[in-house]
Symmetry: C2
């Protein structure tokens, strides 16, 4: 099993010793999700945090009207899961589903907690949580400040991989609009 990718991704964020890496890498549990398969769904107590080695996933929830709302897509190099459910053993309200055949490196609670409390992975984890929080805050702020058209144009520019790899109705859900609306927006844009 080749851990170069996850190692280099972690090294971008925090320095760590050879000993710490050996411990951490021994905790990796590889797992492959087939397209459309779920890692967890609403009601589960989430057993793993996962690193996306290859493929992509969507992380979403169902509102009380039965509509799905995608919170984020996770591509190669992303850490995915529901921290609240994972650490606090609470049933999750989210779904994590593969959109392509996806290779994950998973970590269970016992091992992950051990690593962050006893190695420099504590620093690493603090950093990615902080980043996730800040980016969610920004995304939240932008959900109000920008129109759907502006948000779509920004995706095109800043996250072209989302446009290229993800079916349109999922992008609509990610943007917080209906597929019909996204279709009209695209139509309008292409006419410019």
């Amino acid at each position: 099993m080749n851990f170069e990718f996850i190692k280099s991704e972690i090294e971008k964020i925090a320095v760590f010793s050879q000993k710490d890496w050996e411990l951490f890498s021994s905790f990796i549990e590889p797992h492959t999700l087939r397209k459309k398969e779920f890692l967890f769904s609403e009601g589960d107590v989430v057993k793993y945090l996962a690193f996306v080695q290859k493929g992509c996933i969507r992380y979403y929830l169902n509102d009380n009207k039965g509509d799905e709302h995608i919170v984020y897509f996770g591509f190669e190099g992303w850490w995915v899961g529901d921290m609240n459910s994972f650490f606090n053993r609470k049933p999750t309200i989210y779904y994590l589903q593969a959109l392509e055949d996806t290779d994950l490196f998973m970590f269970n609670r016992e091992n992950f907690t051990y690593a962050i409390e006893n190695t420099t992975y504590g620093e690493f984890f603090r950093e990615i949580t902080k980043r996730s929080y800040m980016s969610m805050q920004k995304r939240y702020a932008e959900s109000n400040t920008k129109s759907a058209e502006e948000k779509y144009l920004e995706l095109l520019e800043k996250n072209p991989q989302i446009i290229q790899r993800i079916p349109q109705h999922y992008i609509a859900s990610y943007l917080g609009i209906k597929p019909e609306s996204l279709s009209r927006i695209r139509n309008k844009i292409s006419g410019k």
Copy 2:
């Protein structure tokens, strides 16, 4: 200076030794903001994370159309600031302003970083960041799943202190709508 409140708030989240508390409390820099005064504004590199001892603040940003968007209100017991700017020494895009005369307990970067890297405050900080992240994720999800009326009714029920202490046009900004719209929603509700 009475540190009982902040001590008890921290103790709710993490256990820590007497020695750690003495260190941490020695880092507290008390500061009072007068109503309408700013702790920081757009462009500043944020120098402090702060605990709200008394009073309340709003944390908001300006969009490119000149409208303000409130991300959160901070009441007694809240930790407030811009982590990204604070830790990464980047100019902030946010404003933090007192809505009442407000007593803060502030921590500068050097001290705070020392505490989280060398004491059990690391655990404490990981926990509040995690919680902030999860609640922002939930808030983001709800910004799409619920109508303004539903969000307002939920505030009434779950955060009455916001309704009671905060001027209506700020609540509108927090809900992501215009003051006129909130006025109409309130009118409609009271007619029921």
